[in-house]
Symmetry: C2
Subunit: 245 residues, 2 copies
Amino acid sequence: MRMLSGSNILITGCSRGLGLEMVKQLAAKKTGKIFATCRAPENASELGKLAEDHENIYVTKLDVTNLNSFKDLNDNIKKFCGTDGLNILVNNAGVSPKSTRINFVTAEQMTETFFSNTVAPLMLTKSLIPLLGQGAQNCDKNSLVVNLSSILGSIAENTKQGGLYPYRASKTGLNSVTRSLSIDLASLKICAVSVHPGWVQTDMGGTNAPLTPQHSIEGVLGLIDGFEMAQNGGFYDNFGNVMPW
Amino acid sequence: MRMLSGSNILITGCSRGLGLEMVKQLAAKKTGKIFATCRAPENASELGKLAEDHENIYVTKLDVTNLNSFKDLNDNIKKFCGTDGLNILVNNAGVSPKSTRINFVTAEQMTETFFSNTVAPLMLTKSLIPLLGQGAQNCDKNSLVVNLSSILGSIAENTKQGGLYPYRASKTGLNSVTRSLSIDLASLKICAVSVHPGWVQTDMGGTNAPLTPQHSIEGVLGLIDGFEMAQNGGFYDNFGNVMPW
């Protein structure tokens, strides 16, 4: 059974970039309910328009670093999904500090980036375990946690560029979290996978990037839709290739 | 030329465990000055005794999470080493939180462990770059940053156990830092390497561990002493075997 079909999906960081593109493409597919979170829905006009045009899309206010808000988020999802639960969580929200060569890196950059990109996805996933477990119980497929990682989180791929300490450590840390989640949650029928979306033309990726958000997310959604147990706890790029840790 | 011979060495976390064992074994070798740091020298009686018996051992008070104290540390090293600089930095100090299964992991554990095990070694290394660069200029060998990592920081090796989110993410993050340092500092003739010391009978490793501190540190010091450029930016165990990321 395809993963996206009929699935209730939560995606963080949907006001722009890859998150917005993901909602856009999912809107045209036969999924279940789509919870698209962003920090300031009042400023996310494109996302708001998508929700106006598709009644299964729910724009939900969420700052993933505000861990105290996760209970309200859970209540909100329960209100709309009842006992169906959640099938897919995409931890997409993240930050990327600008100047991070060794001469400029600060402890604050390190901790703030780690909190947004590693701790927040872990704690959000933890808070959603009951709903994700419920989702898996109510259908014949596992639930799935998708962590948006990066090639910059691959230590093996860092052969020449160096630097970028905060972002690299946070994404490497996220990959580590993915792997432990994939083991710890297996008995609940919840899987986890890390995805490098490619180098994409977004605010984060810049204009020199070779991939459009559309191209990248077509690949990422293809990977999610065709997800198999053998990929549990793994790290893949948008083409489905295995990434080295 | 062997790495340890005549080298001025700074080791953090020397009051007990692997740090203490390292100072013990180095005391019997022909190194230069050994700066052995710990949080509370007044309670580190065994380390104090070593310093009494060996005039090249300097017990130095340092809490690696107190980043503001690094300037004083630098001044202290300069006072004793003059323009010889520092040849080897061993980032050994670290913490390991106890209960870290998914049901018990907290954001505080994640951030505190990351700060001690990843951010502090990075910022300490950054502060010592001038002294490490000076060390390399004053002799015919590169300086070396040794980051005490762990097999638990290897994502590839985490195939069955899971959990341990704070410790795993912090050591994986430290490996990521090692790799970027090895690239960024190459032009200054400063190398960096991550080392898994093995599973050792210490307060951290517990009594079931197969290795004694003596056995582990003999291996680690052998690795350091025979360090070669081809190992720059790599991850090795106490036997010198390559560890997967």
